[in-house]
């Protein structure tokens, strides 16, 4: 995966969570992940097609997603429920849109599928291109989450 595609996903994630959930996530150093294991307790995954194929997953720890969704909805949520899963789908959709806008500015044409959401300890994330994926870790008030992205070569 070309490293120039990492920043659009990093910046897209920060943009969405800052604007919609009023949190201030701090990115750590990206690294390569070779297995399918999710890093968090609830994940949203979305396929990307067009001149580059791939997929994006956002995988949240319970603490981080409870904080994010409580802020987004303006009410305190204390467990992973339907609202959380719906919100993870929406966040994944929005991050995908914000990242695609940045990648399209580089001259590529992309579209996205409908996101799916998976929860539970040690669930797996299956990337469209198989892998390995690039993981961008984030720390924020309440916990950590990762952006897990695997993009193929431009066609």
């Amino acid at each position: 995966m070309d490293v120039k595609f990492i920043n659009p996903f990093l910046e897209g994630t920060v943009e969405v969570l800052t604007k919609m959930a009023f949190v201030n996530p701090k990115p750590g150093k990206p690294y390569l992940k070779k297995n399918n294991l999710a890093k968090g307790d609830v994940s949203g995954i979305i396929g990307i097609t067009g001149t580059i194929r791939g997929s994006l997953a956002l995988s949240f720890s319970t603490g981080s997603i409870l904080k994010i969704v409580s802020n987004m909805l303006g009410e305190e949520i204390t467990l992973i429920n339907g609202d959380i899963r719906d919100a993870v789908g929406e966040i994944t959709n929005m991050v995908s849109g914000a990242a695609r806008k940045r990648i399209e500015a580089m001259g590529y044409s992309l579209s996205a599928s409908i996101p799916t959401v998976v929860s539970g300890k040690e669930h797996s994330i299956m990337h469209v291109m198989g892998g390995p994926s690039v993981v961008i870790p984030f720390e924020m008030e309440g916990g950590s989450f990762v952006v897990d992205v695997c993009m193929g070569d431009p066609q």
Partner: protein
């Protein structure tokens, strides 16, 4: 009329997203909010209740946001209703289609409550 007291109809098939928009509206001082899960339900509400402002998602089952916009503009009673379209991405063809159909303005997700509030204020000033 007090701008902050206007009745706003939020149309989105995702209950969570309706709550998110309601929360952003609240932060901008708009608390008179009602909801609909698609264009069909929204149109029924518009025909039976006085609504001052519509905020609608684009992609919805049964009746999409653009179909709802066209129905509103074609109805003599509702045609002047301010209509803000929410889109997940700023696709040029979507924007052109919405402008042709008479949208008041559009807003691309993600957005802050400040931007949402400014859009509503601007549209309502033009109406008045």
């Amino acid at each position: 009329m007090d701008l902050k007291k206007i009745k706003i109809l939020v149309v989105d098939d995702f209950a969570t997203m309706r709550k998110v928009i309601r929360n952003l509206l609240k932060q901008s001082g708009f608390e008179n909010v009602t909801e609909a899960e698609d264009g069909v339900v929204a149109l029924n509400i518009l025909k039976t209740t006085k609504v001052d402002f519509v905020i609608s998602d684009w992609n919805m089952p049964n009746m999409t946001g653009i179909e709802l916009l066209r129905s509103v503009r074609a109805d003599a009673e509702l045609s002047k209703t301010p209509f803000l379209m929410v889109t997940a991405e700023s696709l040029k063809e979507n924007v052109v289609e919405a402008v042709k159909a008479g949208v008041s303005d559009y807003i691309v997700k993600p957005f802050t409550h400040e931007v949402l509030g400014e859009k509503i204020d601007k549209i309502m000033k033009n109406v008045n």
